[in-house]
Structures are given as structure tokens and as C-alpha cells.
């Protein structure tokens, strides 16, 4: 009996209902986008003009990007911090992950336990001593300090270690017989094989760093060094009641992440599901 492929009506109806719920769920984003395109006077007109009757998009975004407030500088700062944090964190974590899974040395087991134990320490709890340490090391109010703060991720190490462990030891043993050292095996065999996992972690780290508000708030002071999240808040304070400008800034702050997320959607969702990781 051939199974007829017809549209399942029940499923279609549920899809439609869920679609409506989804729009409701994302309404704050639509409101944000819509307000950023309007004249200030139209932001709070009711009923809400979701598609503005009078457009002021160019002016709003121009004011945000090219006004007195150097938004582009904060953008560059954020890109710099996020990219460098991601690079160092991925490097440090994959080195450690390989060391803890594929190199057999007696101290390895308990060193890994120590690393794992520090995962229980919430960073928020040690913010105050970290702040004091940063001031005495000269890392306070520098980008390098901010980058180092997120570069030693236990989570990343743990996640990548899981993947390195799935690699067959035969690969590594046969490479060793051919005279390859661990470093060459790491670079030429192990890393290429776990590349999807590394990409997943890199995307997640990039998103987390981009969105980080707490650490820049505490560890940066100079105005020209601050990152987007802090700038966003300062911008809000300065522009008090100019909601169209504030929303244009908010859209600008979210947009690059949205691109990263849409490109890396599969990796992000799989990474979250797999490790159940939470920044």
C-alpha cells in the first residue's frame, strides 16, 4: 500500500499557530527595528506603525554612526576584543584538551581534575579580587587584560576534550611510529579531525564575548577603550529620550551577531544541545 504524501492538516494548523506565537515572541525585536526607522515623534504613536509612514532611517543611523559619539570606534574595539579572545581561547583550550586526552602522562589525570574543579567557581564571586589583581598587574583598563580574562576557558577545554577523546588512538600511534611528535600530530591530524567542534566553540565564544557587559564594565574605564555593550548603555544615558536613536544603536549592536548566528546556526544550536553549555 503506497503511503500517500498529503499535507497533514493538523500539523499545518499547529505550524500556523506556532508561527503566530513566534511573531509575538519576537515582537520586541520588530518594535526595535521599526522604531529605529522612524522620526522621534512617531515612535510612540498609536496604533503602532510597524512599517513607518515617514522614514527617517538614514538620518537615525547616520547620527548613531557618524555623530559626536564615536560608535564606530566602540565597534572596532569590540571586534578586536572578540576576535582576539576567540583566537587565544580556542588555542589555549584545544592545546589543553589534546594534552588531557591524547598525551599519557601521570600528572594529567589530577591536573585535569584541578582544572575541572575551577569550573565550579563562578567568575562573579571573584570579581573583586580579580579587580585588585588587575590593578596591581597593570592589566586594569587595557584590552589585553579584558582578552586574557576570557581566554582560559574550562568549558572550552572540557568541550573540546570530549571530541579529542573520540579520535581513534590508532591514528596517533601510527603517526608516532612514523616519527611524528605530539605537536605535529596535534596540528596535522587531531585539529583537522575535530574542526567542527572547534568551529562550534569559536562561534559560541565570539557571541559570548561580543555580548559581555559585566567584564568591560568592571575592567575598563577609559572612554575610548570601551566596548559596544558599555557604549550602548552610555549612549542611552546621553540620548535620554531619543528612542529612535537608541533603537538604531541597539539594532547596530545586535546586527553582526545575528549574521554570525545565522551563518553558524547549526553549529551554535548543536553545540548548545550537545554540551548543554551556558556562558
Amino acid at each position: 500500500m503506497p503511503v500517500q504524501k498529503t499535507l497533514n492538516w493538523k500539523k499545518a494548523v499547529v505550524t500556523l499557530i506556532m508561527f503566530a506565537c513566534g511573531i509575538l515572541f519576537l515582537l520586541p525585536f520588530f518594535w526595535m527595528l521599526s522604531a529605529s526607522l522612524k522620526f522621534e515623534n512617531d515612535v510612540f504613536t498609536y496604533p503602532i506603525q510597524w512599517i513607518p509612514e515617514r522614514w527617517n532611517a538614514v538620518n537615525n543611523y547616520k547620527t548613531v554612526w557618524m555623530g559626536d559619539y564615536p560608535f564606530w570606534l566602540y565597534y572596532l574595539n569590540t571586534i578586536k576584543v572578540a576576535v582576539l579572545t576567540t583566537l587565544t581561547s580556542v588555542t589555549v583550550s584545544s592545546l589543553a584538551a589534546y594534552g588531557f586526552s591524547k598525551v599519557h602522562f601521570p600528572a594529567g589525570r589530577w591536573l585535569f581534575l584541578i582544572v575541572l574543579a575551577t569550573f565550579m567557581v563562578p567568575q562573579q564571586a571573584i570579581l573583586v579580587p580579580q579587580f585588585i589583581l588587575y590593578r596591581s598587574l597593570g592589566l586594569f583598563d587595557t584590552h589585553i587584560g579584558l582578552i586574557l580574562l576570557n581566554s582560559f576557558s574550562v568549558l572550552g577545554t572540557f568541550m573540546l576534550r570530549q571530541f579529542f577523546m573520540t579520535l581513534h588512538n590508532d591514528y596517533i600511534e601510527s603517526a608516532k611510529i612514523d616519527g611524528a611528535g605530539h605537536f605535529r600530530i596535534f596540528l596535522q591530524i587531531a585539529v583537522p579531525l575535530v574542526r567542527p567542534a572547534i568551529a562550534t566553540y569559536a562561534i559560541l565564544r565570539f557571541i559570548w564575548t561580543w555580548n559581555d557587559y559585566q567584564n568591560p564594565l568592571i575592567f575598563l574605564r577609559t572612554d575610548r577603550l570601551i566596548t559596544l555593550q558599555l557604549a550602548m548603555q552610555k549612549f542611552t544615558t546621553i540620548n535620554g529620550e531619543y528612542y529612535s536613536l537608541i533603537m538604531a544603536a541597539a539594532v547596530s549592536a545586535i546586527f553582526p551577531l545575528l549574521i554570525v548566528f545565522i551563518i553558524g546556526q547549526k553549529q551554535v544550536i548543536e553545540g548548545i544541545a550537545l554540551g548543554g553549555v551556558k556562558g
Binding site: P28, F105, M232
Partner: protein
């Protein structure tokens, strides 16, 4: 001949071992050094600060030992009690968020077309910057001009609450936003959990005539219990660590109604410059999270039923 080979072999083996030893330490060294400097050392500093009375702006000369004073003061500090209570109330977001997420996950898993589209939709708030999201909600919740209250007046509620500006509603408002942000994460983890349940269990239950509700109660819920437990624990830990939303949205106000532990610590350390006292608050936070983690370790084996 045999012995010579044996000695050679042992030499080779020990040189190999030395190589492994060296390689091992080299690979993990950056991580270990980083953790030592940025996590372990600060913990040591924290232990010292706990027993001190220090305004760090005044420099080291100003450093005074205070014994257990900081903790004694915490026990009497009404503001800290309020903060801790707020934290406990805030925990309520975890089960609410999990229930909504589970419902969404079940619907998305089996009952809709375009699964990927829905995953992305509900995940959006989670990847968006908290600052931008908080700013938007601030405007939406605006007591007089905001769209939320406009809508409420439209449907006949003449005196809608002031939301984040209202001491009675502020914490609830922040909790609602927090649920909205976390749904995506919980849903994705639940979806992964659902996909790991073997399909034939449902099929045989159907043969036995089980309806949807029975299947949910007897198969889905028990088999998801590890996921549920995991989400519960990480969710509770997350509520203890919450800071961004409070810092951007309410700054603990109005009248301390949304002060959570990390915010109170931040306020004490960086606005009131009481380093010793702030460190003690940090320690309470640390211990709270530690206890929850221990519960997780013990519970993982007992609670979760397969």
C-alpha cells in the same frame, strides 16, 4: 643478547615516557598558568580580603584586619537579607521557563513543519546582547508611553502597573524578561533530550492504547529527567550569577526591590568601595553555587530515573 635488548627496550621506553611527560606538561601549561593567575590566585586574595576592612582607593596603608566582622555584619544587614530573598524569588523563573520550554520543544519536535525556523526564532533573545534587549524592554515597559501599558489600557485595564518603575512590580518584570531570554537555551537542550528517546517506546505504547497524556507522563517525562535535572541545576546557578539585566535595567532599584547578589556585591565594591565587605558577599555567592553543584553531583545518580 636478550638482556641487552631488554635494557635497550627499557631505555627506549623511559625516553618515550619522558617525551610524553614533557609533551603533556607543555600542552596543558598555558591553561594551567592562566587558571592559576586568573582564578586560583584571586581565590587566595579573596580569602584574605574576607577578613579585612579596606577601602582600596586609600592604598595598602589603609588595610585593616577585621576578623569575622564582615560576616557578622552580613548576618545583620537588612539590605543583604532583602537581596538574598530577591535571589530566592528570582529562582522561580527556572521552573516557569523550563515548563514553557518543554512545551515548545515537544510541539516543535513532532508537530510542526519548518523545525529549524522555529528553533532560530525562539533562540534569538538568547544570542542577543542583554544591553540592547534590556533597553528595548525598558521602553516597552515605559509606564506612560510604553506599548505594553498602551495595550493594557486598550483592553480595559485603566490602571496598569508601572512595571520596572514600580517597586511592587519591578522584580516580576525583570523575571519575565529573564524567562523570555532563557527559553531558547532550555528549549534547545530539551529538543536534544527528546531526540534521544527511542521512537519504538512510543510505538509500543500506542499499540497498548496509550493516549498522548499517558505517553507524556509515562515515557517522555521520566526519560527526560536527566535533562530536566541538568536544566534545573544550571538554571539555579545562572540565577545566582545574574548581573547584566539588573545592572542595565534597574540598578537594583526602585528601593532595592530588584537587588540581586552580584549587583549588591558590585555596588558595595565599586560604588561604595568597601572591598572587604564585598568580598564576603562574593564568598556567600561562591558557597551558594558550590552547595548547588554538590547537590548536582549527589543527585545525578539518585534523582534521575531511567
Amino acid at each position: 643478547m636478550a638482556t641487552a635488548a631488554g635494557v635497550n627496550g627499557r631505555k627506549r621506553a623511559s625516553s618515550l615516557q619522558r617525551k610524553e611527560f614533557l609533551a603533556g606538561w607543555l600542552f596543558v601549561a598555558p591553561m594551567l598558568i592562566g587558571i592559576s593567575i586568573f582564578t586560583l590566585f584571586p581565590i587566595l586574595i579573596m580569602l584574605i580580603l574576607n577578613f579585612s576592612d579596606w577601602d582600596f582607593v586609600m592604598g595598602l596603608d589603609n588595610f585593616k584586619w577585621a576578623g569575622l566582622d564582615n560576616f557578622a555584619r552580613l548576618a545583620d544587614d537588612a539590605k543583604f537579607h532583602k537581596t538574598f530573598t530577591n535571589n530566592l524569588i528570582f529562582m522561580f523563573t527556572v521552573p516557569v521557563c523550563m515548563a514553557i520550554s518543554l512545551l515548545l520543544a515537544i510541539i516543535i519536535d513532532k508537530h510542526v513543519y519548518m523545525k529549524d525556523y522555529f528553533k532560530v526564532t525562539y533562540f534569538m533573545p538568547y544570542i542577543s546582547s542583554v544591553v540592547a534587549v534590556a533597553v528595548v524592554w525598558q521602553v516597552l515597559f515605559h509606564p506612560s508611553k510604553g506599548p505594553v501599558n498602551h495595550f493594557l489600557r486598550l483592553v480595559g485595564i485603566d490602571d496598569p502597573p508601572g512595571w520596572i518603575a514600580d517597586p511592587n512590580w519591578a522584580l516580576v518584570s525583570v523575571m519575565m524578561i529573564s524567562v523570555w531570554i532563557s527559553i531558547g537555551f532550555n528549549m534547545i537542550v530539551y529538543l536534544a533530550g527528546l531526540q534521544s528517546i527511542p521512537k519504538d517506546l512510543y510505538e509500543s505504547a500506542e499499540i497498548d492504547g496509550a493516549g498522548g497524556w499517558i505517553k507524556f507522563r509515562k515515557i517522555t517525562l521520566p526519560l527526560l529527567s536527566p535533562t530536566t535535572f541538568f536544566l534545573l541545576i544550571t538554571g539555579i546557578i545562572y540565577t545566582f550569577k545574574s548581573f547584566d539585566l539588573i545592572a542595565v535595567l534597574t540598578k537594583g532599584g526602585p528601593a532595592g526591590s530588584t537587588s540581586l547578589m552580584v549587583w549588591y556585591m558590585y555596588e558595595t565594591a565599586f560604588l561604595n568601595l568597601k572591598i572587604g565587605y564585598a568580598s564576603a558577599i562574593g564568598t556567600v555567592l561562591f558557597v551558594s553555587v558550590l552547595i548547588i553543584t554538590l547537590i548536582q553531583w549527589i543527585g545525578q545518580n539518585k534523582w534521575v530515573n531511567y
